[in-house]
């Protein structure tokens, strides 16, 4: 039995790591979408976490327990600068400025060659992200979102998603909630990025661009955002599926894009359409 499990883990180790990390990314998307906001910067925040983490480990040799929180902090600061002004504006401003962030960071990573390794990226990052750590964090985050979802905060978030103006009239501090959610989501994405860097041992500038942003969005759109587990299931499906459908090759991105189109048009609640009860 144990031998079977070992074999399984050995064969699919990369996939299992990816599933957990994508689960965290899906939660970071959930965190903003749950209150009706759209950030397309999750991949950019992930990249910031990955580069921060990798550089701290490689160049400064900091211990991993210190690297992880800093990898969450850097994207949080960037989220504050980008998100701060947009949160009082119409939601498209946040969406636009976060896509632009991803593009500009990609150019920055490529050009700041001495630090980031340019187009070649950084390699030889020690593999410190154990499966226990990844899945432990994922479980804690799901439980945390679940608990928060069943409180006044969760009700305020759903109220904002349904009708922002009415939520404001209920006394929900809209800018504070939006900023809080964006920062929390940037921190989560940064953590996921750092974990990914310390499990793949390689990172490159093109992993966190437009395609990655769209893929992360597709996790939440396919899974739905009725409960925190829904986007994670979306991430699992979309991460495992391409592995199974390897022949898709070049057309994998076409598939990811179409998922978004079809989910928005025909499946607005996702494949896990249940909704969290928010009263005792």
């Amino acid at each position: 039995m144990a031998e079977w499990l070992d074999d399984f883990l050995f064969t699919y180790e990369n996939l299992i790591h990816a599933l957990g990390i994508h689960g965290l990314l899906a939660l970071s998307m959930y965190c903003v979408m749950a209150l009706g906001q759209l950030s397309l910067g999750q991949a950019a925040f992930m990249g910031l976490g990955a580069y921060t983490g990798a550089l701290l480990t490689l160049k400064l040799g900091l211990p991993f327990w210190l690297v992880l929180p800093i990898s969450a902090l850097v994207p949080a600061l960037v989220a504050l600068v980008i998100g701060g002004p947009t949160l009082r504006l119409n939601g498209v401003y946040l969406a636009i400025s976060t896509i632009a962030l991803g593009e500009v960071l990609r150019v920055l990573y490529i050009n700041a060659e001495s630090l980031t390794g340019g187009a070649l990226g950084l390699s030889g990052i020690p593999q410190k992200a154990s499966l226990w750590l990844v899945y432990g964090l994922l479980a804690v985050c799901i439980a945390g979102f679940w608990a928060i979802g069943r409180s006044r905060i969760g009700r305020a978030m759903e109220a904002m998603r349904e009708d922002e103006m009415a939520a404001g009239v209920m006394g929900v501090n809209l800018p504070l909630y939006k900023l809080g959610a964006l920062i929390a989501s940037a921190m989560l994405a940064g953590l996921a990025g750092s974990l990914a860097a310390h499990s793949n041992s390689f990172i490159g500038p093109n992993e966190y661009g437009f395609e990655a942003a769209v893929t992360i969005l597709s996790f939440a759109l396919l899974g739905g955002i009725g409960t925190p587990i829904a986007p994670v299931i979306g991430a699992f499906v979309l991460t495992a599926l391409p592995e199974l459908l390897r022949p898709l090759a070049d057309f994998r991105l076409v598939f990811n894009g179409l998922i978004i189109v079809l989910a928005v048009l025909f499946l607005p609640r996702g494949i896990v359409p249940f909704r969290l009860r928010r009263a005792p």
């Binding site: 006044r152 009700r155 349904e162 404001g168 209920m170 501090n173 809209l174 005792p280």
Partner: protein, 264 residues
């Protein structure tokens, strides 16, 4: 009686249009105050100014002696203001009970981390909130539908749920934007009974309404707006006999004829 809410020179200009033009209004604590006026008189804009959805072009607003002119809606709710909307704005995916509990947002104090860890203090507060929400649903006659989806309630029920949700913040001043709109006569009578009971809860009411009978029956004091200006103010009897009000509603020719008929 002191004024709970005072508007001074309240003005709202959209492009060239003066939707609300230098309006002064005092709403006395404990009163039921009505705002009436023909279509396009600026009533809804006036309401949006009071609840903070619009920022006035000029003029000031004080709530209980404090200047609230520049405060966003959520801050005014915290100070004891609540409102309903003319075209009901329900959180329709939520249950009826959850809607009312959302209305308690400003009153629930348990910090986020105690919710995260589901500490006893948080759980006690939630249980208490649920009990109070049930009591409010009882009050508006929706207790048996507490767990139903609020979006599937009938129209009149949604109106009552919106009132319960607004009351959940324990407001001192409740703004009702055409509460009887779209209701049949029986529902309107029930609503009037409900609103009269609110006085016992120490809630001051400010309402915009089209249904004249409803307003005259309910209000202690009435302000009449026309083309954004205040044209009359007083008790129901004064308003009923005010020629400028009649003129605004019926047009000047009819008013003249009425005046002649009365004179004859």
């Amino acid at each position: 009686m002191s004024a709970l809410l005072s508007a001074r020179g309240l003005t709202m200009q959209f492009r060239g249009l003066l939707a609300v033009n230098a309006v002064d209004v005092d709403v006395a604590a404990g009163s039921v105050h009505g705002i009436i006026g023909p279509n396009g008189a600026g009533k809804t804009t006036f309401f949006n100014l009071i609840s903070g959805l619009l920022r006035p072009t000029s003029g000031s607003l004080t709530l209980d002696g404090q200047d609230v002119t520049a405060l966003p809606p959520y801050a005014r709710t915290r100070m004891g203001l609540a409102r309903t909307f003319q075209n009901i704005r329900m959180f329709s995916d939520m249950s009826v009970l959850e809607n009312v509990m959302t209305g308690m947002h400003t009153r629930l104090k348990a910090p986020g981390w105690s919710a995260l860890l589901r500490l006893p203090g948080f759980r006690a507060e939630e249980r208490e909130a649920r009990a109070q929400a049930m009591e409010l649903l009882e009050f508006v006659g929706l207790a048996d539908k507490a767990d139903g989806r609020s979006g599937s309630l009938a129209y009149g029920e949604q109106r009552r749920l919106e009132i319960a949700r607004a009351l959940a913040s324990r407001p001192r001043l409740l703004l009702l934007d055409e509460p009887a709109a779209g209701m049949n006569p029986a529902e309107t009578r029930e609503l009037a009974v409900l609103l009269k009971q609110l006085g016992q809860r120490d809630v001051t009411l400010l309402l915009v309404e089209h249904d004249m009978g409803f307003v005259m029956d309910l209000c202690d004091r009435i302000t009449v707006l026309n083309f954004g200006r205040k044209i009359a103010e007083g008790g129901p009897r004064d308003i009923r006999n005010d020629s400028s009000v009649i003129e605004a509603y019926l047009g000047s020719k009819v008013a003249e004829r009425l005046a002649k008929a009365h004179g004859a």
